[in-house]
């Protein structure tokens, strides 16, 4: 999900709406009232319908002085709303309390992700990175128009007008005006063709903590997630899905379900049988009463153990070549010492706190959707195709998402499409046109697939007589996420899905003979990107295997990495910073009697952000593991909001640690064995280590922070466990691995 250069940014005025199709634009829209509440339930949509100007760009200034930033990216916890608003506020010289954020509607002509070309969506840790120039320019243009309006009104040169903290002033005469007082006049002015952006030394927001704009509503219960949306005459739908991937409904008996008071309808849809009722509990009670016969002729019936066995067999055979430096086979054969290791990574569910859900309403002009929308353009296309509409007739309102970790950006629009299919199935009956809220239970969510793919890695390495690494051969086996998706064209090349090998094929260490090969078996288990994608497994195998080699060669793990990273200064700098802050090389305080303690390091780049972590662990006498402390250093270019970066490091480490310690979705004869948080264990507060975040000062353009901390924690912990116990963990999760002394 990476694409190269930023596209040019055109700026247009509301009074010249004909130019809007020219692309990304800024419009200074005057609204009579104030700011709409942040991302409220369809508020953006309703306000749009009534307002004289559709907010069609990134900033709107009300006559009450409110500054509303239109966020094109989903707020799913990562802090995108505050981050995007910071970029606008910086160049606008707004005061933070006057700044509000509203989710953008689905419209790729204005709100596309500049790294994705013509598609709107959030992912790949791109929200700030792709918006950095665009939103600063939007803020700067609005500021220039306010300045021009003030200069006109006061009859003074624009060059003498200044703006600070939401006040426009003319210091020589002492004149002052608020944004609200100037908004109407500013909106009538031409939009500047070019704007000058601030010198970084003049930043007042960037580089400092700006409080989150959603802390209030998320602390008092008023934030509206899809689960909370209530529309007049809305119905709630639950769907019975087949127990195995690939199965279909053969027949069903809905008599008992229909007999439950409050049930509106029971309908067959492509993905199962939907029960539509007045509320969740009624729909769930009725769904439990359905009798369904499944057609399992095409059902997938393998178990995880069989998949792993087949993958291990494949890992012993040559695969498609993702990278080849030198001649790894020859170098291995000639090496003084050879090492090999095999690693197993299970399927993983995203398990966001808010299970998947979506509200859909069909009307004469098309279809309206309310959702924690993460991939608007794909969702529009998929729903339009299913309903026989044009994509622009699918209106999407973006609400807060209760987590996602990639799940809501489904390449097949799975749950969004399911909601649309239910609305379509109701269309001919007495409930046609009523809004329908599809709700998945936790069990539905966990068993519906779209997992981080199961992977097996096989690594071989050779050391020469001095203990230097002369050969490295890495084979990966796992399903392609991108094959068959709209991203395949850009990111699957010569049989290599970039997201299968990223982190392995980009290994930064100076090893003269290095090969990376990939097998991409096709299975009907639906797979999807999961916070940090390929790095979720490649960071683990590469960083733990390297650690093993360091140990075999009698080298210090930090020192070995430093030496191999000479040509990668940003990797090296985060490694050195983390090691220094963690006091690498000094003895760890001993544990209690019977406890063994260890320190481990890992370095990994993902999404152009460089991360090093040092983990300190304790292995208790009973073999159980506690992660005490993690020191993380990262280089994400210019740090827009250091406190939010720290929050993403803390959260990313917690999310990665949950998977490392406990996370596994397993299949038995094709049936998912896990169902809820008792058998797919999340991290709980008593397992959360103390996390310290250190940010490398940088003037490079900002890169993402939502994902890059996640993949580094598992190898750092595994290396710490090895330091404590000598045991190398090669199968995830660690749960169940014997660590007893």
């Amino acid at each position: 999900m990476r694409a190269p250069a930023l596209q040019g940014v055109a700026i247009v005025n509301a009074s010249r709406r004909g130019f809007l199709k020219a692309g990304v634009g800024l419009t200074l829209v005057v609204v009579a009232g104030g700011a709409a509440a942040q991302a409220g339930p369809g508020k953006a949509g309703r306000a749009n319908a009534a307002a004289p100007f559709v907010p069609n760009a990134f900033v709107r200034i009300g006559t009450d002085g409110s500054v509303t930033v239109i966020a094109k990216h989903l707020e799913m916890g990562q802090g995108a709303y505050a981050g995007l608003a910071t970029l606008v506020a910086e160049e606008l010289d707004a005061a933070w309390p006057q700044v509000h954020v509203e989710g953008a509607p689905a419209d790729a002509s204005r709100y596309n992700n500049l790294f994705w070309g013509p598609a709107q969506g959030t992912g790949g840790s791109t929200a700030i990175a792709n918006s950095f120039d665009q939103l600063r320019q939007a803020g700067a243009a609005a500021r220039a128009m306010l300045v021009a309006a003030a200069a006109n009104r006061w009859g003074v040169p624009a060059g003498q007008v200044s703006v600070a903290k939401g006040i426009v002033s003319h210091p020589p005469s002492g004149r002052r005006a608020t944004f609200g007082e100037l908004a109407a006049a500013a909106a009538r002015l031409p939009v500047p063709r070019e704007v000058k952006l601030k010198d970084p030394q003049d930043y007042v927001f960037i580089g400092r903590r700006a409080p989150r704009l959603d802390s209030g509503p998320k602390t008092n219960g008023r934030a509206i997630f899809t689960q909370d949306l209530r529309l007049p005459r809305m119905l709630t739908a639950l769907v019975a899905h087949p127990p195995r991937f690939g199965a279909r409904v053969r027949s069903f008996d809905a008599a008992k379900a229909r007999a439950v008071a409050g049930v509106a309808d029971v309908v067959a849809i492509p993905s199962g049988v939907a029960v539509v009722a007045r509320d969740f509990w009624t729909a769930k009670t009725a769904r439990d009463a359905l009798g369904i016969e499944w057609d399992e002729a095409a059902a997938f019936r393998l178990g995880s153990a069989e998949i792993v066995a087949e993958y291990r067999r494949l890992a012993a055979t040559p695969g498609a070549r993702a990278r080849r430096d030198g001649d790894p086979a020859a170098a291995l054969a000639a090496a003084a010492r050879r090492f090999e290791a095999e690693y197993e990574f299970p399927y993983l569910a995203h398990a966001a706190m808010e299970p998947m859900n979506c509200v859909v309403q069909l009307g004469p002009g098309g279809c309206e959707i309310w959702n924690g929308a993460q991939m608007q353009t794909g969702d529009q296309r998929a729903v339009a195709a299913a309903l026989g509409l044009a994509p622009h007739q699918v209106k999407i309102n973006m609400l807060f998402a209760g987590g996602s970790f990639g799940r809501r950006a489904n390449p097949g629009a799975d749950y969004v499409l399911e909601a649309a299919e239910i609305a379509k199935a109701l269309a001919g009956g007495p409930h046609a046109g009523r809004p329908v809220k599809l709700v998945w239970t936790r069990e539905d969510d966990m068993r519906a697939g779209w997992y981080r793919p199961l992977f097996v890695h096989r690594l071989e390495a050779g050391l020469d007589a001095h203990g230097d690494i002369v050969a490295w051969q890495h084979r990966l086996v796992g399903q392609s996420i991108l094959a068959g998706t709209p991203f395949a064209g850009a990111l699957v090349k010569d049989g290599i899905d970039v997201t299968s090998v990223e982190g392995a094929s980009t290994l930064p260490y100076a090893i003269p003979n290095l090969g990376v090969e990939l097998h991409s078996p096709k299975l009907p288990v639906p797979v999807q990107w999961w916070r940090s994608v390929g790095s979720t497994h490649t960071a683990y195998s590469t960083e733990t295997f390297l650690d093993e080699l360091a140990s075999a060669a009698g080298r210090d793990p930090v020192e070995l990495r430093r030496r191999l990273l000479d040509k990668h200064p940003r990797h090296k700098a985060v490694l050195e910073l983390a090691a220094q802050r963690a006091r690498w090389g000094t003895p760890l305080a001993p544990g209690e009697a019977g406890e063994r303690r260890g320190r481990g390091v890992a370095v990994h780049e993902s999404f152009n952000t460089f991360v090093a972590q040092v983990a300190e662990v304790t292995v208790r006498a009973d073999g159980s593991l506690r992660v005490d402390r993690v020191v993380c250093a990262l280089d994400c270019g210019l740090a827009i909001n250091p406190d939010n970066i720290a929050a993403q490091v803390e959260g990313g480490i917690g999310y990665g640690l949950a998977a490392a310690l406990h996370g596994a979705i397993t299949l038995a004869a094709g049936i998912v064995e896990q169902s809820n948080f008792h058998d797919y264990r999340p991290l709980r507060i008593d397992e959360m280590p103390a996390v310290e975040t250190h940010i490398v000062a940088s003037a490079e353009p900002p890169t993402g922070v939502g994902e890059p901390a996640t993949p580094v924690i598992a190898p750092a912990v595994a290396n710490a466990v090895a330091a404590a116990t000598g045991k190398r963990l090669r199968r995830l999760p660690f749960e169940g691995e014997a660590l007893r002394a």
Partner: protein, 155 residues
């Protein structure tokens, strides 16, 4: 019909006594701050206070709260004397604890119940009181810090 006190008001929702309190609150009474996360008391997103004690509303039948006092996130910081919940919510804002925010109503109610019972909780006591509240964003470090910050403010 079941009658109980909800955030200081008597309510008699039109629902069967075996319907879980969570769905009565959300779908019948329109209070959506209490969240659905797992449905079987594993995650704590649905935490409310029943007579001051944290309870999982997803497995609490409506009939079980007859005559009880139920407090949801919407009822916090309402009364003049409710210093604890105000201190907790203020600390949550000050430290920007939330990320996605979906679990936070439950976290905050658990924290309020803890601080009402114990004015100076240790790390172990915080972990013990909140171990039933899952946050997939893993905001745990800030939850601990915010509880301590609220405790400091409460003196």
């Amino acid at each position: 019909m079941t009658e109980f006190d909800l955030n200081g008001r008597r309510v008699r929702p039109d629902a069967s006594p075996d319907m879980p309190l969570l769905w009565v609150l959300r779908d019948r009474l329109g209070l959506t701050g209490t969240k659905y996360g797992c449905g079987i008391a594993l995650c704590g997103a649905c935490t409310v206070l029943v007579d001051g004690q944290p309870a999982r509303s997803c497995v609490t039948p409506l009939g079980a709260v007859a005559g009880s006092r139920v407090t949801t996130i919407e009822g916090l910081s309402a009364g003049q004397s409710d210093r604890v919940s105000r201190a907790v919510q203020d600390a949550w804002m000050r430290l920007d604890v939330v990320q996605c925010g979906y679990c936070q109503s439950g976290q905050i109610l658990a924290a309020v119940a803890l601080l009402r019972a114990k004015r100076r909780p240790t790390d172990a006591e915080i972990d013990g009181a909140l171990a039933g509240n899952v946050c997939r964003c893993a905001t745990y470090q800030r939850i601990r810090a915010a509880i301590k910050d609220a405790a400091r403010v409460l003196g």
